[in-house]
Amino acid sequence: MKAPSLFIATSLLVWGWQVEQVGLAVSFALLLEASRLFKWQWPLPDKVIYRLVDACAFLLMVLACTVFFQNPPAKALFTLLQWTPVVLFPVVAIQYFGNRDRLPLAALSLQHRRCTQGRQSIDLSYPYFVICLIAASTGNRAAIVFYLAVASLWTWALWQHRNTRHNPGVWAALILMAASGGYLGHTALIQLQATLMEEMPAWLLAWFDNSATDPYQRSTAMGTIGRLKQSNRIVLRIANDGHERVPELLQRASYNLFRHNTWFAASDAFKDLSTTTATQWQLTSSPQETDHSVNILQTTYNNSGLLPLPFGAQQISHLSAKSLQRNALGTVKAHTDTRLLHYRVDYTTTDQGTTPTAVDRSLPAGYRKLLAPTVAKLRLKEQPPHRVPALLKNYFNSQFSYSLDLATGDKELPPVIDFLRTTRAGHCEYFASSTVLLLRQAGIPARYVSGFSVQEYSELEQQYIVRQRHAHAWAIAYINGAWRTVDTTPMVWQQIDARQHSLLTPLYDVFSWIWLGLEEWRLEHEQKDPRQDLVWLLFPLGLILTWRMGWHKRFLRDRSIHIKRQNLPITGDGIDSACYQIVAWYQKRGIQRKPHQTLKSWFANLTRQDNKNNELIARIVILHYRYRFDPVGLTFAERQQLQGLVQEWFAKHQ
């Protein structure tokens, strides 16, 4: 498949027009077409072609690194594509100016380079045409004209390789029909994409349960059956100042309304938080005195998310965010530019917080009657409010067990009541929900809180890490004018939960740590001029190129020569070969070697009739060639042998 005249030049012009590089495209096109005008061809050995292709590959890598550092990924890809025809131009040029129509496939494939048998070759003109066309498409200009250009160029290419048994008229009619169909198809494709873009969010929302990060509602696993399984993915990293203790619980969202096994946040909408400086955010309008602080590193996946905060958080600092919002229940939502959120939280152990509302005392219809026996049994209403949390904790610890197995006892009862009366085993959602409901039944305002438990210290990272499976739920109760944490889940839950630890977790942790390091490095350098860092990137790439260009072989070869020749005098690449004495002998007698003749063929012509001399001269020539051209050269003994053979030859001729 050889491209016709002017075909690649036209493709280059289309590319130049689309990406606004007309000057470059015209010069490339002229250069390629000029190769057809000149008779001479550049004899290129395989090795030169390999090195040129390697150099182009290196340039492409440098270009890729540069554009990916300077641009967002999608833009970077298109920028890279735009410049690909320029970077790969030398490869096509050597095919046009070289003395062969096709390039060896080994130039593009290391496997073929290593394999010396069955050399295959490839014509790069059509692949280059495709590259030009794809690159041109990224210019995104004049859609209809570009389509006409695409259709015309492909028609030109297909015409060259059509099946000649068919009538050209039929062929042309079909291609015209296909081109029209293609354009209609493209229009339909655009409409399809528009529809998808419109409908997709709704489908995705229906498909995925997003309640884990929804500040307005939280579905629970209560009432379902099976076994809870959570991932070991690290979601938070907690560092403390000096010897200060880290908070045991980090609150992500709190909810106050319980309906149909789902907790809802019945409060005002999120409101923007005030900021004193660009990175400091005040969480409450009347901040309390803070006595603790903690540094949190959070990974988000869509540049926004709920911030896990310690109970009694008053102020967030060192957080670069576009905006921070908070609802009346204390849930804080952040909108940022990065996936990594690094912030410091100042907090106090007692939170005055917002005063409770009627919702914080409400119970679902019918629950009051169902909860009454338990409250009566524990005499909660008769206790002073500050003693109720301890009583409940004692009750759940002594008479309930923690379990990740989701089971139901009496299907007629709501799952929380079933948990309190029948199963008496469950995970933290059961304990937290039951506690909130019992507290409310006892007349104490309470809320359901979801967040994380901080329990694992990483020796690798020298800080606390929080995994996805450390997600936890508990209650907060408004007692004596302040909100307090009431976590009634038996402490054994941490050990049971730790059994979900996989054998691959350490490996994952290492990768996660490396990824974090790279991400932090990237963020740190994002503000700086990326070209400064490219210098460091060029260094390993340069080393790879040097290696690929064959210096490693040369180096090894030179070493072997050095080892073998260390006992021999330096002679200068076999210039002193004894074989030249025979050449001189013939020349003295007026027999000259023609410029095109190799020494071997010259000797063969001279000794054609003489079989014995023919064998002798053949042995001499083999040794001489090795002495002259083999990089390892001859050993001392072999040089002696060459000398001996030459003397033998002279003995026969004199």
Binding site: A136, T138, V150, G182, H186
Partner: protein, 442 residues
């Protein structure tokens, strides 16, 4: 685990790849690849115009695919296949095609179809692909290229397609087909395909025809220097049935009384009539020069190339021994002990070569089986040639035992050139890459 999962899917990938190769022309491949790239780049139609390239090529390819379905020729074929071929020696044969329809065809191509035999895991494990060393670590780990190489090896030949520029209605043409056998054994031809590209030259219209056929590929032979096998004629108890009458033939020795088990054909009716009791004719057994060619098939640690070289050596020796005056016993172990005798008109060398074409390596059994089998018949041999795959103790013992029993033995040890000086004077090493040279020096 992952590898086994991949192995299970190799057939599917291979079939898909074969379908692509059959269906798409070189231009078709270019269009297909361009379509794939433009699909990826132009996924979001609002970012660039690559989707225009995609839709145009998609429609073109669809038109090509649909038009290729209309190619449904009805032809009749008869293959004229020779009975034998030799490994790596190209040969041609013809396939006679008749066009009984009222339709003429242009630009047809005929492609012979070899039967595909899927390799087992064990075969893949044992298979040593010479090009595997050049592959990247990923390909070597996954093993798909090696698997494809084994499938091609098992298919056994490279077949060049035959071109039919014009095939008129009612005409019969002989389509020449070129074939290069890659391995010995039976080549199973499944049928043939008639291929014609569509009007855009992108997709091939393919019509498959079933026409089973087979031919036997004989092992590769090399010229051997004239072999002067030592040894004198040896007494052959009972003679050798069916040998020709040239040279020493069975001769009448005496008459004796009938014993139970004697053939009725041996009864001498005249003497019976004279003596009144059954008398039979007794013949003297013959003396022949009988050579043994012992082929070692015990390839526990041996590479396939070494075994193939050994079979080639055995085939070369079979072709070079004079079988007009001598007998040659080919002995080897397969599922059982095999001993085939040729010479003196009994069988010809080609028959031994056909046997050698089907010899297989055995991996599990001990070498002692061959040792016992050879020594059982050692008394009948004038001399022997042992083609061995190794020079370990059991093999050395076999050669020494034969020599101790007065059977001059030429031991040829095939190797990849690593045995070196361990052979001493007792055997001759034949490196796999120097078969021709070494066989000339025997």
């Amino acid at each position: 685990m992952l590898r086994h999962l991949l192995l299970a899917n190799f057939k599917t990938v291979y079939r898909f790849n074969r379908w692509l190769r059959r269906r798409f022309t070189a231009t078709g491949y270019l269009v297909l690849c361009s379509m794939g790239v433009s699909l990826v780049v132009g996924m979001n139609t609002s970012l660039n115009l690559a989707s225009q390239i995609f839709t145009f090529l998609l429609i073109i390819l669809l038109v090509s695919l649909i038009s290729s379905w209309f190619f449904q020729p009805t032809l009749q074929a008869q293959r004229r296949l020779p009975p034998y071929a030799t490994v790596m020696e190209p040969f041609g044969y013809t396939l006679q095609l008749s066009n009984p329809t009222g339709k003429s065809y242009r630009g047809l191509q005929l492609i012979e179809e070899l039967q595909v035999v899927w390799p087992s895991h064990e075969e893949l494990r044992r298979y040593q692909d010479p090009t595997d060393q050049y592959r990247n670590p990923f390909d070597r780990y996954v093993g798909f290229p090696k698997w494809v190489s084994l499938v091609n090896h098992k298919q056994g030949a490279d077949i060049k397609p035959g071109d039919i520029p014009y095939f008129a209605s009612g005409e019969t043409v002989d389509v020449p087909v070129q074939l290069i056998p890659k391995r010995r054994g039976y080549l199973q031809l499944q049928g043939y395909r008639l291929v014609r590209p569509d009007l855009f030259g992108l997709v091939n219209g393919v019509k498959q025809f079933q026409e089973p056929g087979s031919l036997l590929v004989l092992p590769r032979c090399f010229p051997v220097a004239k072999l002067d096998l030592p040894g004198t004629p040896v007494y052959q108890p009972g003679g050798v049935p069916l040998v020709g009458s040239c040279g020493e033939t069975e001769e009448f020795a005496a008459l004796r009384e009938y014993r139970q088990g004697d053939s009725l054909r041996s009864i001498h009716w005249k003497s019976w009539a004279r003596s009144g009791k059954p008398i039979v004719k007794e013949y003297r057994s013959e003396y022949f020069t009988r050579h043994a060619l012992i082929l070692d098939t015990f390839a526990a640690k041996t590479e396939e190339t070494v075994f193939e070289a050994a079979v080639s050596i055995a085939a070369s020796l079979v072709s070079s021994v004079d079988l007009n005056e001598n007998l040659l016993d080919l002995m080897f172990i397969g599922p059982e002990v095999y001993r085939f005798t040729a010479g003196r008109g009994l069988h010809n060398p080609t028959q031994l070569l056909t046997i050698l074409a089907c010899v297989q390596m055995i991996h599990q059994q001990p070498f002692s089986r061959l040792h016992q089998a050879v020594l059982e018949y050692a008394g009948q041999f004038s001399s022997s040639i042992a083609v061995l795959l190794d020079w370990d103790l059991p093999r050395q013992q076999l050669v020494r035992e034969l020599r101790n029993r007065g059977v001059p033995t030429l031991a040829l040890v095939v190797s990849t050139g690593t045995l070196g000086s361990t052979l001493a004077e007792e055997a001759m090493e034949i490196p796999t890459d120097q078969l021709a040279e070494k066989l000339q020096q025997l």
